[in-house]
Symmetry: C2
Subunit: 318 residues, 2 copies
DNA sequence: TTGAAAGCGCTAACAC
DNA sequence: GTGTTAGCGCTTTCAA
C-alpha cells in the first residue's frame, strides 16, 4: 500500500491528506477478508488465568517478541474451564489467527483436535499432557523436583515431604510430574519413601497452612518440605510461625516459582525459578518462524529451572 | 441463523451435519464485514501493564462481566508507552470494537481524541486526567490519602511522610492526587507540613528501600510512612528491618492496594484496599448498557477505598 | 420453503 | 501513472 511506486508522490500526499481529513481508519475485517489469513498477523495465546503472575509474564514476553516480528497477540483466558477453552480455540479459528501458543488446562483433548483439523500451526507452552508428541517449549519439572530433593538433602534433611496440588488440579500434568519425580528422586537418594510423604495441599496460602498441620500429623518429624508453588510455601511458613516451629532451623521449606517477595528478608524463601519469560519468548520465536516457513512447528525444548537458595532452607541454622 | 423458523428441521439437520463433516467454522472477518460493527460484540480494554496485579484483576473481572452480556474483551497493553497506546487505540478502531474501557497512561491526549473522532463509546477506568469530564469509574484516591493520614494520626504518629512515585510516573494523575491530598489532610489535621515530607520513591521494593533511607535523612524522627503502593511499603519494611528500626513500634508503615501476602503474619502490612474487581465490573456494565442504548456513556462514579489495619501500624505497640 | 443475488470495505490484477 | 473491477465469506433481502 505504501510501497507501491507506481503512484506519484504528489497524488499520494493528496490522498493521504484527504484520508487524514476524513479521519479515515481502514476496516481490518475487510482487509482480512480480502487478504485471506495473512498480513495482519495474529497469534492466539491460550492461558488458564491471567491473574496468575507467570501467565501474565508469559503474555507480556510473547507480546514483546511478537511485536518485533510484526505480529500481535490475542489472549484467550480459559479460567481452567474446558468448555471455555474450546470456545476460545473456536474463536481463534474463526478469527483465522496465524498460529496459536497454547497453555492448556488438559481437561479436554478437543482443543488440539480442532487446531490440527484446521491446520493451525501451534506450539504447547509451559507443560504438556504426557502423551503429547507435538511441538512444545516446556519447563523441566522433573528437574525441578530433583533439584529440590537434592538441595533439601544437602542441607541435612532426611525426612522429606511434598505438598502437592489438590484434586481440582489432578488433571494437570505439571503437578503430576513434580510429584512423581519427587518420589523417584527421594528413593534414588537411598532415602525411605512412603505415600504419606505426599500431602494434598493446593496452590494457595490457605492450602499451605492446613497442609502443614496435616504434614505434622502424617509425617511426624518431617524435616524438609517441598511445595508445589510459592503461595503454598508461604502458607507453610505462616502455619509454622503460628505453631512456633522455626522455619529454616527445625524445618526446611521451599517452593516452585520465584516471586519478588520471596527475597524479602522476612520471607527469604528458597525457590526453584522457572524462566517463564524466556519460555514465552522462545516459543513465540519458533512459532513465528514456522508460520513464515509455512510449516508446522516441530521444536521440542525443555528449559532448565534454577535453584534460588535462601534462609528458609538453612536447615539446622548452618 | 439458528432461530430462523423458515427452514424445515430436516434440512437444518442435514446442513448442520454436513457442516460438522466438513469441519466448518465461520469466518468472523466476513461476518463482521457484512454485519457492520455489531453482533460479535467486542469491547477493547486498554491497560498499562498486564503483569501488574490490579490490571490483570480488572481484565479478568471485565471479561467475566462482558461474557455475561455476550461480549468479549480485547486487551491492549500499552506498556506505559504513549506511542503504543495510540497504536492500540487505532487497532481497536480498525477492528471496529463496540466500545472501549480505558486505563490510560495519561502521557498523550491523542487516544481520547481518536475515540471521540470515531464516536466509539468509551469509559475511563481507575483514574483520569484532572481535566477529563467524560464518563468514568474511578478509585477515590483523595479518600485513600485521607484514610491513611487519619489512621496514622489515630495510632499516635505525629511526624508523617509520604513515599511518592518517581519522575517516570509524574504524568500519572493518580499519584499526584494521592500526594496532594496527603499534604492537605496533614494540614487539615493541624499538623505541620513541609515539602520534605514528600519523598520521591517509586513503585518497587528497591524504590521503597532507598526511599526509607532518604526519609530518615530528610525527616528525622519520622513516625508514620504512607507509601504509594504495597511493593514500596514492603521495601520500607525491608530497609527498616536491616537498620534495626522496629516497624509498627518505632515507625508505622502502610501502603495502597492490598495483596494477599500483606496478611502474612511476617508481613502484616496495613493497606488501603481498592475495589478493582468491582470497578471493572461496574465499568463494563455501564459500557455495555450504553452500547445497547446506542448512547455514549455518561456515568461518573468514584468508589471508596477501605482501610485494612494490621501490625505494621500498631505504632508504639498498642 | 428455498434459491439467487447484492453488497459490506478492501486489495490485487488488469485495462487504459 | 491511474481508473476499474472482481471477489474474499458472510447475511439479508427479494424472488420464485
Amino acid at each position: 500500500m505504501v510501497e507501491d511506486s507506481r503512484i506519484s508522490d504528489e497524488t499520494r500526499q493528496r490522498i493521504l491528506q484527504q484520508a487524514r481529513l476524513l479521519n479515515y481508519i481502514p476496516n481490518s475485517a475487510a482487509r482480512k477478508l480480502r487478504h485471506g489469513r495473512s498480513k495482519i498477523s495474529v497469534i492466539g495465546f491460550l492461558i488458564n488465568d491471567i491473574t496468575h503472575p507467570f501467565y501474565s509474564l508469559m503474555v507480556q514476553a510473547a507480546e514483546k517478541t511478537a511485536a518485533r516480528h510484526g505480529y500481535e497477540i490475542l489472549v484467550g483466558d480459559t479460567q481452567w474451564n474446558p468448555a471455555k477453552e474450546v470456545a476460545e480455540v473456536k474463536h481463534m479459528i474463526e478469527s483465522r489467527v496465524d498460529g496459536v501458543l497454547a497453555c492448556l488446562s488438559e481437561r479436554t483433548r478437543e482443543s488440539t483436535g480442532l487446531l490440527d483439523g484446521f491446520a493451525v500451526p501451534y506450539l504447547m507452552l509451559d507443560t504438556t499432557p504426557r502423551e503429547y508428541r507435538g511441538a512444545c517449549v516446556v519447563n523441566d519439572l522433573a528437574e525441578a523436583s530433583r533439584i529440590a530433593v537434592s538441595h533439601l538433602i544437602q542441607v541435612g534433611c532426611r525426612r522429606l515431604a511434598f505438598l502437592a496440588a489438590d484434586e481440582s488440579m489432578a488433571h494437570f500434568s505439571a503437578f503430576t510430574k513434580l510429584r512423581e519425580e519427587f518420589a523417584r528422586a527421594v528413593r534414588a537418594r537411598g532415602l525411605p519413601f512412603e505415600p504419606s510423604q505426599i500431602i494434598r495441599a493446593g496452590l494457595s496460602i490457605e492450602a499451605g497452612q492446613s497442609a502443614f498441620e496435616e504434614a505434622l500429623r502424617v509425617c511426624p518429624g518431617v524435616e524438609g518440605i517441598f511445595c508445589v508453588n510459592t503461595l503454598c510455601a508461604l502458607g507453610v511458613i505462616e502455619a509454622a510461625d503460628r505453631r512456633g516451629v522455626r522455619v529454616g532451623r527445625e524445618v526446611a521449606v521451599m517452593g516452585v516459582d520465584d516471586l519478588d517477595i520471596c527475597s524479602l528478608s522476612r520471607i527469604s524463601l528458597t525457590t526453584i525459578r522457572q524462566p517463564y519469560d524466556q519460555l514465552a519468548e522462545l516459543a513465540t520465536e519458533y512459532l513465528v518462524g514456522a508460520i513464515e516457513n509455512g510449516a508446522a512447528p516441530t521444536m521440542r525444548q525443555s528449559l532448565k529451572p534454577e535453584l534460588v537458595a535462601r534462609q528458609s532452607t538453612r536447615f539446622g541454622n548452618r
